[in-house]
């Protein structure tokens, strides 16, 4: 397990390779569809600092509010490919060092990772309780009323958040590899049918 503390510089991110397992510590922010649209089309001033050298987590959590503030109850990753139209711009404009989600992303994001020194980290889908427990504190939330709880931008402090590098900053993607291999295998089966 490679420890990553946020904010992180380009150099340790460049060292990461597909297949590396990481544990993330520090402050990150959740963002899904509405947030990505907002970050690209508007200024995003309130989250610029935390995104610089930071990480975006594709997640729409189940939250609970008490006297002690907000708490993450269930918080696994959501499908990342919906953010493909926006992510390359977000990485470039905000200096994001990693995107955490599930399912991987496409060519444009892979190219942006290579150009700007960023990686895609895959969290295990449905690992909602374990990942929510790695969120030690909810610092603040942006756009809660406008976007609703799942789509709001939650600023969270995490400790040993587990993820796997599936797209690195050197153009490698585990997703592209698995797609190629499985497509070839399917074609062989179809030829027999």
């Amino acid at each position: 397990m490679i420890r990553i503390d946020l904010p992180v510089a380009e150099e340790p991110i460049r060292k990461l390779k597909v297949g590396d397992e990481v544990g993330v510590y520090g402050v990150m922010i959740t963002a899904r569809d509405a947030a990505h649209k907002y970050l690209v089309e508007e200024d995003g001033a309130e989250v610029r600092e935390v995104l610089q050298g930071g990480m975006i987590y594709h997640c729409g959590p189940v939250v609970r509010q008490s006297d002690a503030g907000w708490q993450f109850v269930a918080a696994g990753p959501t499908t990342s490919k919906r953010e493909e139209p926006y992510e390359a711009e977000v990485i470039a404009q905000y200096g994001v060092r990693a995107v955490i989600g599930k399912g991987g992303m496409g060519e444009r994001t892979l190219a942006a990772c290579k150009e700007h020194g960023a990686v895609y980290l895959h969290a295990i889908g449905g690992l909602a309780v374990i990942l929510a427990r790695s969120v030690r504190k909810v610092r603040e939330v942006h756009k809660l009323d406008e976007f609703g709880a799942p789509e709001a931008m939650w600023v969270i402090e995490v400790e040993n958040f587990p993820a796997i590098v599936t797209m690195d900053s050197h153009g490698n993607s585990l997703h592209a590899e698995v797609l190629k291999n499985s497509t070839e295998r399917a074609q062989k089966l179809l030829a027999q049918w």
Binding site: A74, G76, K102, G103, I124, G125, G126, A132, V178, A186
Partner: protein, 290 residues
Amino acid sequence: METQKLDEWLLELIRLTSCELAPDVERALCAARDAEQGRARSTLDWMLRNAQEARESSMPICQDTGSLIFYIDHGPDLDQEQMTQSFLRAVIKATERSLLRPNAVDPVSGKNTGNNLGVGAPVLHFHPGLAAGKLSVRLMLKGGGSENCGVQYALPDGSLQAGRDLNGVKRCVLDAALRAQGFGCAPGTLGVGIGGDRMTSFQESKEQFFRPLDDVNTDPILAAMEKELLESINQLEIGPMGFGGQSTVLGVKMGLRHRVPASYFVSVSYMCWAYRRRCLQVENGQAVYL
């Protein structure tokens, strides 16, 4: 049936479905883990640990608590309108208690209603026909990531060389599994509806998810096809979460609906590994959860 009791039973059904994986699903995940190595094995281990922690702490297994799909079989003594109000109250309360994420979004305004109620939400299918005093409620929580992997084919499909026969059906199902990769949170389960119209074909595919994972189709032809497809798809090496490995699907479940001569639909629905469905049965005022 007392309204207050029904409200409590339904709330417990929602809690159980959201927080506790059904035993047949957990057994299938354990068997998949034991057969794997390396990253595929550790990924399945994480999933099983998460299921255990969710159960022990009564928290949702997955943050996407999905669409709520209820199938209700009831006796003549129960009024559907009154029951509907109980379902709505239970859903509101479950959302307040963070057992469900607010998941009802108006597609025009973009507004989330905040309580899981909306036009067509939750989904309630009522079937009268049971004896008086009896009630059976089946609930499925269908997450959005896996739902997005669903696909419907109209045979013949030239690009798949899929004709209007069972070989064509098989080609469609393999294609759906390939397209899904790990996106639906593999290892998933495929529900397949053969025939019907566009709506009932998908409905059949969804209803397949209420079958126990380890059952055998009562139709021997479909049973053989389910087995063959399960084995074939697990040779694709997509693996848990699409990281590679042998456990791509836990099951393939197929059902048919008679079609009109002009149409031949094959509908494939994808259920994620966090396969959440449970049943409440009431008889003589006693509730049992399955």
